[in-house]
C-alpha cells in the first residue's frame, strides 16, 4: 500500500517537475510546480512529517507560488517564439548523464543508517509539531533568530529594489 502511494507521488512529482521546466507558457509552469508541491507534501506525510506537509502547502503553494502568479499577471509577458536556450540539447545530455550516474551510484551503494534519538513512535507520542518546536527553540534558537533577520533583509531589499521613485531619484542624482 505504502509502496503504491509512494510510486504515485514520486511519478507525479517527476512528471510535474519536467513540465515545470519544459512548458512554454509561464503560467502553466507555475501550475505544474503547484501540483508538484502538493505531491511533495504527500511525501512528507508518508515520512511522518505532518507539520512540514502543512507548512509546505501554506508557505510554498499558498504564499510563494501566489507571489509568482501575481508577478506574472503584473508583467503580462508575451509568449516567446523560442522558449529554450540554444544549448538545451547539450545541457540535457550532460546533466542527464550526470543524474543517471548518480542514481546508479545510489542504487548500487546501500545506506547503512545509525538510529537516532527520535524514532517514529517517540515523535508520534509527543506530536510532530511539538517536537519540531522543541528542537527549534532550544538547540536552534540562534539560527532561528538569524533566519528572521534574513527575512527582514529580503523584505527591505525587495522594497528598495522595486520602489520606482528611489531608483529614479538615484538615477537623477547620477545624471
Amino acid at each position: 500500500m505504502m509502496q503504491a502511494i509512494f510510486i504515485y507521488l514520486a511519478t507525479v512529482c517527476v512528471v510535474c517537475a519536467v513540465l515545470t521546466v519544459s512548458l512554454r507558457q509561464p503560467v502553466y509552469n507555475v501550475m505544474a510546480l503547484l501540483t508538484m508541491f502538493f505531491h511533495v507534501a504527500g511525501l512528507y506525510v508518508l515520512l511522518n512529517a505532518e507539520f512540514l506537509a502543512v507548512v509546505q502547502i501554506i508557505v510554498y503553494a499558498g504564499a510563494i507560488l501566489v507571489l509568482y502568479l501575481f508577478v506574472l499577471m503584473l508583467l503580462n509577458l508575451r509568449s516567446e517564439s523560442r522558449h529554450l536556450h540554444r544549448q538545451w540539447p547539450f545541457a540535457v545530455l550532460i546533466l542527464g548523464s550526470v543524474a543517471a550516474m548518480l542514481v546508479g551510484a545510489m542504487q548500487a551503494g546501500g545506506f547503512g543508517l545509525p538510529t537516532g534519538e527520535a524514532p517514529a513512535q517517540v515523535i508520534q507520542a509527543v506530536g510532530n509539531t511539538e517536537s519540531i518546536g522543541l528542537t527549534l527553540y532550544t538547540d536552534y534558537l540562534l539560527p532561528f533568530e538569524l533566519a528572521s533577520l534574513v527575512l527582514l533583509v529580503a523584505m527591505i531589499g525587495a522594497i528598495v529594489l522595486t520602489k520606482k521613485e528611489l531608483i529614479q531619484d538615484h538615477g537623477e542624482e547620477q545624471s
Binding site: Q3, A10, C13, V14, A17, T20, V21, P26, N29, L33, F37, V40, L43, Y44, L47, N48, A49, L52, V55, Q56, V59, Y60, A63, I64, L67, Y68, V71, L72, L75, E80, H83, L84, H85, W88, A91, L95, G96, A99, V103, M106, Q107, G110, F111, L113, T115, G116, E117, A118, A120, I132, L136, Y140, A147, L151, V153, A154, M155, G157, A158, L161
Partner: protein
C-alpha cells in the same frame, strides 16, 4: 517499507531537472521556478533522512531552507520587476551587460 534510496533517487532526479531548467530556459521567471524545484528536492532529502535517521534535526533544517526560499523569491521577483521596468524584457539571454 520504502527504502531510503528511493527518496534519495527521487530527490536527485528532481534536483537535476531543476538544474536543467536553470540552464536551458530563457525566461527569468522559469529559472526562478527551477530554483524552487531544486530547493524542494533538497527538502525531500532532509525529511527522508530525518525519518530514517530518527532525528528531528532534518525537519528543522527544512524550515531554514523554507526561509531562504521565501527570501530568495522576494528578492528575485523584485529584481525581475526592476529589470523588466528598465529593459522591457525578462529574457536571460539579453541580460549580458556584465561583460567586457
Amino acid at each position: 517499507m520504502i527504502p531510503l534510496s528511493s527518496y534519495v533517487i527521487l530527490s536527485a532526479v528532481i534536483f537535476f531537472i531543476g538544474v536543467i531548467g536553470v540552464v536551458i530556459r530563457r525566461t527569468i521567471i522559469v529559472v526562478l521556478l527551477s530554483i524552487e524545484l531544486m530547493l524542494n528536492a533538497v527538502n525531500i532529502n532532509f525529511v527522508a533522512f530525518s525519518h530514517y535517521l530518527e532525528s528531528i534535526t532534518g525537519q528543522v533544517f527544512v524550515f531554514f531552507t523554507l526561509t531562504v526560499a521565501a527570501a530568495e523569491v522576494a528578492v528575485g521577483l523584485a529584481l525581475l520587476i526592476a529589470i523588466y521596468r528598465n529593459r522591457k524584457t525578462v529574457n536571460v539571454e539579453e541580460l549580458d551587460v556584465m561583460k567586457w
